[in-house]
């Protein structure tokens, strides 16, 4: 049940006929409306800042997935393309003569071009091979440019980075982008445009061949395509959209620093994309939304958020290589058969028990951590809005109990879930 690619061969999926394929508009319209009304629901400036951050991460993750998911190229240094695009934009913002004649909403184009330019230079030698060589070159180049950021102060501004003021651009329809909300809509528009372009790109001959080269570069060569150039163009396109993300970062935060370039940032975008799911276009979008929430919200709740994230990531790679999107799309066959409902109860049983187990385990982890690292005499801890003494027996019994019972129940009910799953994925009356 882990591999979303194995479909029952006896039942051809009713996919949309490729010949009549136009951009399926519904999800895009919903997304546009959602983007439009979100600021009316979450009005606080900080909420808008977080949504901006989310949108930027989405664009970046989608750009990254053009490489990882669609092109099969694993990059460990993709942050540099976004970063360099952003830095270039910051220099444009600081160039008064030019910037005062440039409407701010057009700035991301320049970011894209600079990201693309750098990608063309690096891609000219890094895309000759896929796989390990590509990954290693990307790591090497990433480290180099990140290290340069503190050496080449003229461009990268050293450790404190460079900053500017977005409001000095040519007013656009009377808007000077003084307020976060104005920036939000600017970013939202660019999010829609970039996402649509990237989606459409995957439907072009080059986009299709990127998939082909990913799956089987040798075969692609015998179809008349140079695997190297297909990779190169994917890489350049990805660099362009990464540059746009960088430019939007520059607009939103008005500062760029070394952290926009370093390997941590590159690692994060890999994590985001993979958690979301590389197999589907919307995977990275999910990943970016979930990750940003985890980073900003969970990190307020617990110091150990990185630890939990690490566990989730490793578990995802091991058991759900399709990521979140893969998990969701696994249910499509059952839905087509109209039997999704049959999964409800078994899910509730197993996942409910599993969730109890996870909560118990998390409480246990927090308590262990607290006992080990809290300052002497500090025995109080607050977990799940309850404050208690970590040196008492009861909390430990409760937490261990919840963990054991939760995972035990999950294990006990798992066969039922598997049976229900098989049932839901089998057409009624099919002989098996």
């Amino acid at each position: 049940m882990t591999d979303q690619l194995t479909t029952d061969p006896t039942k051809p999926a009713q996919r949309m006929r490729a010949g009549s394929m136009v951009l399926p508009l519904t999800p895009w319209v919903i997304a546009a409306i959602a983007l439009l009304i979100l600021p009316f629901i979450f009005t606080a400036n900080s909420a808008i800042t977080i949504m901006n951050q989310m949108a930027i991460t989405i664009i970046f993750a989608l750009a990254y997935n053009m490489l990882l998911g669609q092109g099969g190229m694993l990059s460990f240094g993709h942050a540099v393309y976004a970063g360099v695009g952003g830095f270039a934009c910051m220099h444009i913002i600081n160039n008064d003569a030019f910037f005062s004649n440039l409407p701010l909403p057009l700035l991301p184009i320049f970011g894209g071009l600079f990201g693309m330019g750098l990608a063309m230079i690096v891609g000219s030698f890094s895309t000759r091979k896929a796989g390990t060589v590509f990954a290693m070159i990307s790591l090497g180049v990433g480290e180099l440019i990140a290290a340069c950021s503190v050496i080449i102060v003229a461009f990268f501004g050293g450790e404190e980075g460079i900053s500017g003021d977005r409001t000095y651009g040519l007013p656009f329809l009377g808007v000077e982008f003084l307020q976060q909300i104005e920036v939000y809509y600017l970013i939202a528009v660019w999010l829609m445009v970039s996402a649509a372009l990237m989606y459409l790109y995957s439907r072009t001959p080059l986009g299709r061949m990127a998939n082909a080269v990913r799956d089987n570069p040798e075969r692609a060569e015998f179809l008349g395509y140079s695997a190297r150039w297909v990779r190169f163009y994917s890489f350049v396109a990805s660099g362009f959209f990464a540059g746009i993300a960088g430019a939007l970062f520059a607009i939103n935060y008005e500062i760029l620093t070394e952290e926009n370039l370093n390997t941590t940032q590159s690692g994060i975008i890999l994590l985001v994309t993979f958690l979301g799911g590389v197999g589907f276009f919307f995977g990275p979008i999910l990943g970016a939304i979930v990750f940003t929430l985890v980073q900003t919200v969970l990190s307020l709740q617990t110091e150990l958020w990185g630890f939990y994230l690490g566990i989730v990531f490793v578990v995802t790679v091991m058991f759900f290589p399709g990521g979140l999107a893969g998990l969701i799309m696994m249910h499509v066959p059952a839905k087509r058969l109209g039997k999704l409902g049959r999964l409800g109860l078994p899910y509730l049983k197993t996942l409910g028990a599993g969730a109890l187990g996870c909560l118990g385990a998390a409480a246990l982890i927090e308590m262990v951590f607290h006992v080990r690292h809290a300052s002497v005499g500090d025995h109080e801890i607050t977990v799940y809005w309850t404050t208690f003494d970590t040196h008492g027996v009861l909390p430990w019994v409760l937490a261990i109990g919840a963990t054991v019972i939760g995972f035990g129940l999950a294990r006990a009910t798992a066969p039922g879930l598997v049976a229900a799953w098989n049932d839901a994925n089998t057409p009624d009356g099919a002989a098996r």
Partner: protein, 414 residues
Amino acid sequence: MLKSITLGVATALTLSVSALAASADTIKIAFIDPLSGPFAGTGTNGLHQYEFAAEELVNKQGGVLDGDMFEIVAFDNKISPKESLIQLQVAIDQGIRYIAQGNSSGVANALTEAIDKHNRRNPDDKVLFLNYSAVDPALTNDKCNFWHFRFDANADIKMDALTDVIAEDDGIKKVYIIGQDYSFGKAVAAAAVRFIGEKRPDIEIVGNELHPIGKVKDFTPYSRKIVASEADAIITGNWGADMLGLGKSVLENGYDGPIFTYYAAADGITAAFGETGEGSLRLVAEGQINPPANDRAAAYYEAFKAKYPDGNISQARITNVIEMLARAIDEAGSATDVVKVAYALEDMEHESLWGGSIKMRAIDHQLIQDVHIHAHTDDGITFDYDNSGYGIKVENTVTMAAMDSETSCKMRRP
């Protein structure tokens, strides 16, 4: 610690609901510093010092105005400028008017600019930036603004004091300057060259170099150069693992002169240096810990240790921040009109808890205070660091250091 983070910060996205102005009876101060990641130790210790100072020095004294209490609200910026800006936004949305930050001049640069822009664009909810630790001289020079107040002596002032001591030591003929390759490291090096040139032109600077920040695995090659240069003294701005690595490496490889530095105390470093650092490490800092300047300071430190047995008062200036802010709010008669509070802070003179008088210079918002040269030792230590038996003891003092120093700050006042 968990408690303190969760306390003030409702989940970020539901803030729209909770984004009410600060209630009348608490004055919130946002503490934006690393509470997770490699610098969490420093950040957490700073947070404890803030919480303790607010409690002891303000709340237990009856608060400010009509009994309003101080409340420290912690925000984890993971020492990232980007995260800091997000947390700043969250803090402002919660109606917080006072932002305290200290770790990393990079973050401080980002915050001061963001706050300047915010106050220009949102005249209705202006905020003040209480910088208690970021010492990049630019913050009170080219990059100064009306909303930023620095309570630590900046890198130049400290170097001025440090070189006063070096100038008096006739045994020092050769000096080696080494630092991290970024703004602060460069500022230290430039100041050292300048002041030594002014005060002791006969001292030869036998080395002046930068190394990558946080990337050096093994300082041995640097130590070899330093030993080979026969330097009598080392000046460095290194901090954290770079300080520990450099210091231990030079001492192990045959160097036995003094190491003049800014940050080589507390947060595990004092313990890690232990006996090795005895007789070599010289720290420049404000705030006299050993011997205690007065009974009040000793009592305060003891109370702090009683509450946080593993903690250190490593940033004495935090009490100045709290006391001066409290006085300024009282003088201004309002905690919400930050312009008034800022004017009240300007030129404020104050008796520091740790001894000596201090003054917030109006022209650049740099606090002028006594700067001490401390020795790392286990002799005569009343309050040790890291419970290691070792601590820092005042050896020399420069009163009201750099009182008349020049500044390139052109302050625009509202």
